[in-house]
């Protein structure tokens, strides 16, 4: 069973379309990163998944239940942490844990203690006196202590300094090691996500641009550099999978989004006889930027 299945989801706020025809699949047990630039519709998607707002059309299934019908029973298996999460700031960390505990039959006091130590949270301090990073850790602790089957994190790294980010990522990694959980994390902070995610979804302007495993994505995308001695080649009629082609003098670069070993090299040699072709693997960040730029050039383009 997939942890999350989104089909043709749309949400409009008046005349503004936040997401449109969005489809995603999050396999059970995966760490899924939903990437996209600001305003892409990531938070709206999560709000629909959590049943904070209803979709305008389409459907989102969360652990086999329509998101609009998520009740207390289903919610007790979902952990949620958001950059904009409203927490009862008047409570101390201890009070927050005491308040949250009775809501979850599966609350694990031992895990709570372990995480409390790992996160180094001051129990007697009020939430309003905690730093942003500590606040996020407190929220994460509350979301993890009942061993949810699905952990939803909405822009968890926003506003955190590098040290805090590192601690937070470690916190998630350590927590996920403690159980077989699905983690759905939305972010535009690709470096942090790269360390965590094994599945990637990319949305832009409310539409799905890609949805696949990180391994496949990193294999599929490759940066090519072609040196064309003494001549310039036409950039017309290049294969559609070759993205963002650019030529400066004898040097041409592009990103192959359908890379298969030796195939692209052969295609280059056929198209540009005598050229020196070299390729390099890409980071998730580079892939993300490539796709975002491609998307801006072809706003209504289909998923890649």
């Amino acid at each position: 069973m997939n942890a999350i299945e989104i089909q043709n989801l749309a949400r409009r706020f008046g005349r503004t379309t936040a997401i449109e025809d969005l489809s995603l699949t999050v396999p059970e047990g995966s760490v899924f990163a939903l990437l996209g630039p600001n305003g892409a519709g990531k938070t709206t998607t999560i709000k629909i998944l959590m049943n904070f707002i209803p979709p305008t059309s389409g459907r989102a299934m969360v652990r086999g239940v329509d998101s609009r019908k998520l009740g207390p029973k289903e919610r007790s298996q979902i952990g949620y942490v958001s950059e904009n999460q409203i927490l009862p700031l008047w409570m101390t960390v201890r009070r927050l844990l005491d308040y949250c505990r009775p809501f979850y039959p599966t609350w694990d006091r031992e895990l709570e203690g372990t995480l409390l130590r790992q996160f180094d949270l001051p129990e007697d301090r009020r939430l309003k006196d905690l730093s942003r990073g500590m606040l996020m850790k407190a929220a994460l602790l509350c979301a993890l202590a009942y061993r949810p089957r699905l952990l939803v994190l909405d822009e968890p790294f926003s506003g955190l300094d590098p040290i805090m980010r590192d601690e937070f990522v470690h916190g998630i990694l350590e927590a996920t090691e403690l159980g077989n959980w699905t983690v759905f994390i939305s972010s535009h902070d690709i470096e942090e996500v790269e360390r965590l995610a094994d599945h990637i979804g990319l949305i832009d302007r409310g539409r799905t641009k890609l949805n696949e495993s990180a391994e496949s994505l990193l294999t599929r995308f490759r940066r090519f550099e072609v040196i064309l001695p003494g001549s310039s080649a036409s950039l017309r009629d290049l294969p559609p999978a070759w993205l963002l082609p650019d030529q400066v003098g004898e040097r041409m670069v592009f990103v192959d989004s359908q890379y298969a070993p030796t195939t692209t090299e052969k295609a280059c040699q056929q198209r540009f006889p005598g050229a020196v072709v070299s390729s390099a693997p890409m980071s998730l960040r580079e892939i993300f930027i490539t796709l975002s730029r491609t998307s801006r050039k072809t706003p209504n383009g289909t998923a890649l």
Binding site: F52, G71, K73, N84, P88, W90, F103, A143
Partner: protein
Amino acid sequence: MNLTWHIIKKDLSRFWLGIAFLAGLTALKIFLILGIFSAEVTREWAGRMNRYQALLLVGQWILTFLVAVAVVQEDPVSEPGAFWETLPISRRQLLGAKFLDILLICALPALVTLALGWIVVGLPASLLGWPLTAVAEAQLGLCVIALAFGSLAKNSAQVIFWVIGVTLVLFIPAMFPELFNLNRQGLLTPAARFNHLFAVILAWGVTGIAVTLNQYLSQSRKRSVAILACGLGLSLVVLVTSYSGPTLLPGQQRLDREIAGLSAQITQAVIAKPSLESNATSLTKISLQRIDPLTVIYPLGAWSEPTTDHPQLGGKIYSSHENPARPLISRAVDFMPSSAPWSVDFGVESIIPAADVSRIAGRKASYDFQVVLDVRYFAIEGQSELVKGAVIRSRLGITKITSVTCDGAIMRVEIDGRDSGLTPEPGWFVGIDAEFMNLSNLGFALINPKTKTVLMPARTSSGIGATTYSIALIRAKLQFVLPPSNSPDVTIADWKLVKVSLGNRHRAFKSFTAEMTVKETPRIELDPAWLD
């Protein structure tokens, strides 16, 4: 249910300060009640305590509303992604928790502390039922409205915005009292008053419940705003139609009859000119006659257009403010025939230009003038034998005689009473039956059918009371100076205690024509009984 209590416990610990303030206000209120009912206080002291108590009541309402709204806003339903939404609780559970929350925080403490206070001051427990029910209903209504506004608004600023907006809209009719007949409230029959008040309460109750349920269960804020607008519109319509022709007609007809029966006579018109150059002052004494035996009338103003024959009338009014209760009671209990002469005398002072004096003085002329009158209805609410333990049951409540003593010269009567300023009509809400009437208009007198004597309380009497939610708990020590001619064969058993009331004020206008001759006099002399 466990989770509901868990949320309630959280809110109680969150809002302990608000609860403490509410408890403090109520404790202060009890202290004032105790102050009012302490044995040796003066009437002035009691009046001051009652004013403070009224202020406290307003403070308590405002604080109750604010605390109730804050409790609702602690777990907001208008803003997606609130902390409670991340917890495994349903909207229905949250609604239940919040409702119980505000009942426990806002309604129950007020009820319990007031009940304790009233018991401490020695009011019989049998009298507490209605006041407490009225308090409970009012607090519950306040909580329902707070729940609606609190769930509709996204934050505290929006709550203030909504409350001010709705209040302003409801005050629109008050800005045009003439247009909406609001100046004729006194003409409403109790039944019409009750029906419309009930309709307004019902409109707001239903609106509050509908908005709350919609906010908690269906998440459609636009629909809630539409419901609120409908409720607001409906209550405005009800308010405006309360004072429309059909509802005012019976009272208007009675007033018209009384005013039509009035005749005016100018008993004296004098003009005085202190020096040759200065303006003159005229005083016109007017007597209004053939007044309904159970109507109290005070002149508020009189004026006329100036003609060549007479000066302009208008200016300062002088009239007697003598308590009219004695003759009214005499007529009401048939000690005096209702056809007996009955007049209201007053004077109108005007300034006359010096040049007009010689033209006007000594000439007989016909005068067309208008008088503005303050009209109030008088009623005998009930009477009882002067016996300890006797009870006067009236449409306003009950009064129990707790002690009667007489030393031959002074009769001392002590009473305990519970009166509702809400005129009782058979209603669905116990205790809240109709519109508020000023309780200071209640009074007591002794009558003796044998000697046809009416005695009003002496100034040494002390009548004190505590008013909450228009329920007045009254404890009075009335002293009556017996007439010197009180014959030995007149005993306490011959006297009866009478409870009287004055209705709301109503303004009426009446035009008159009268003949008069303005006489010149060295100076104007006012009637000693007149006050300006």
